[in-house]
Amino acid sequence: MIVQDIFSTLWIWTPFLLAGFGWNVLIALLAMVLGTALGAALALMRLSRFKAIERISSVLTELSRNVPTIVFQFYLAVMLPSQILIPGINWMLDIPGWVKASLALAVAVVGFTSDNLHKSISDWRAGRHSTALLFLPSWTSFLLIIVIASSTASMVGVSELVSRCNAVINAVGDTRLLIPIYLYASLFFLLFCYPLTLAMHRIKARMAARLPAQGGSR
């Protein structure tokens, strides 16, 4: 296989690989949405006037920080049924593999949101609105980390980018394709994450510059 062949093979499979990367982004987005909703609830509970509620929230946050995502992903893949009957309305809810991967990743998002939003809400209530808004760029940076982490979904058989690379290698049957295709796939992640990271850093810097000088402490 000469260099040209390698490039044309990569080109032929690009739509297939791109669709795989789409799954990575989708898994990460769902994880962020679910994790942020739960994490926000925990953050509010941590600010509760009732000591017991605050404690429960702290314990749950601590727990979600300690859950190893990869093991939890295996756990959900095996233990969670693929269909759940919603009682009452008699409706079967499908839980495909990629949703299970999202649920596992969401646990990490819960811990992140609980910690960061807790600070932001305190800032907001204290009138430091622009400091509180720093949560948004942090959230986006964390989304990128989750996009990268979503590649582990290939270990439980979700057809995202990394497992599609292996599928292509099997289909083409040429081991010389190994290095080019993995490098090509890593470019997908790099080209998606790097510009967004740069943009978020810039936004953050601009937001920080606008902060009133005396209110610098968070």
Partner: protein, 570 residues
Amino acid sequence: MRKIFIMVKQVALEAWKAAAMAAAASGFLLLCLLSKQAIGAPVKISETLEAVRNRGTLVVGVKTDYPPFGQLNSKGEPEGFEHDLAADLAKRLGVGLVKVPVSGANRLQKLEEGAVDVVLATMGDTADRRRIATLIEPNYYSSGVTLLLRPEQKVKDWVDARGKKVCAIQGSYFNRPMAQRYLLELMMFNNARDAKLALRDGQCIGYMFDNTAIQSDLLRPEWAQYKAPLPPAIVAAWAIGIAKREQGSELEEALSDVVADWHRTGFILEREKAWDLPQSKFLLEAKVLWNSEDDDVRPLCRRGVDRQWPAACRNQAFVLAADVSGLRSLGLWFREMTSFDLTVVYDTYDRGRFLKGLIQSLMLIALCVAGSLAVGVLGALIAESRWRALARLIRALGIYGRMTPPLLQMYLLFFGLGALAWAYSSVTLSALVIAVWCLSYYTGSSIMFALIHAADHERETRPDFVLRLANIREVIGIAEGPVIAALVNVSKGTMMASAIAVPELLSAATAIMTDNGNTGVMMHVLLVVFLVLMAACVRLLSWLVKRIELPHQASSTGQQAPAQEQGAKP
């Protein structure tokens, strides 16, 4: 934080107390039941044995279509290995023998309706059969799975058969475990004839079936050049069966004594040889066991006060908690009470595998933490150095390392580079080294940027500040939050190494699950073990980083330095 910890500790203590009380109570109950059984038990009178004595004959169900265990000779008379055993049974009971041909499908039915007194017909000892019949211990024979190999095959053990095509019959219980354990490529056929035809045509290297059946095939001229050299796998013991209601009766005890004597005297080994069966490991080991003595020079296998054989002389698959002592007893008791099969606790083999995986995981974590710190510190020092070009290169590499999944890098090195290395220099790359490198590169890049950001932040107040080895501990102090978070993450990420077959805890747990079928239990165990491990890691790593760092000098600005992306990452 401390309060929460104390609270959790108290809750755990309470739960533990409650569990211990429940355990003690049920243990006591069990003891009462058992002792009642043990003391008040003269041997139960056997209806079957009385009937046998009255009629003067013992009716035994045997096979006649399973040479050489049971077959018809040229004169049409039934004979075979098991027929000899049946004859000896009748002789020892002092009665005549009547043989009734039975099949695998009807043998237990005939026993239940009283058409035969005893079944001695190549019957495997399983929990399902024990529910509908009384099976005699000790077991008298055993069989397992082997391959009937084509004459030209040079396969010597199961490892050689890995990845080879093997003909098999659909629906055999051993297909799945054999394929998983020995990575065979099974070609499934509907029946034995088709599978054997395919073998003859060279479609596969061997035909997979029960080793005793294959032994009898080998006696036929059509398979003259074929062979079956592989040791039997997934071995199941064979047992004599009597009716369910005869449990604990005089008949069970008499038959049990006869089989024990067969093992002690070597009678059964001698019969095996007489029928040209290859010497089985099971019988050799049984002979040694039933002739061994304990410390008081008394036979090891002798009946206790409860008239039972000691646990060491029983079929291990059916030993109950009450029969054994120590950890194994606790584990089996737990299984009986909760159907939670904690083989990792009580089974020596599984426990060994699990501990090995745990040690491997701990080692991975330690290596990855050290590697990440080294990569991060070294990278930051170079990126801040005077050599502009090198600094740029390192920053670029750092961005690449941070923005691409470590799993992808592992595949790239393990399969991509591994194939190249093998092709050009026949070197194999160590999976462990690759895993440690990839995880350290990914995490080290994060740490590098955290340190650079900390240095940038410092420059806001001290414009001439440059990151050097002399002040690195101080800078680690400023970047404490992100550094600890990154190290915790790499500890969690070590499970990724199982993707390239590093035998760490996740791989070990998966192997135990497929062998025992206790998937749910193992998943829970795995999750709990990792939660505990990670909680310990978080504490240990914070302690470690606090030991490394130096307190910051310019305190007012330093503390709230780059607080980006703190908290839990996956």
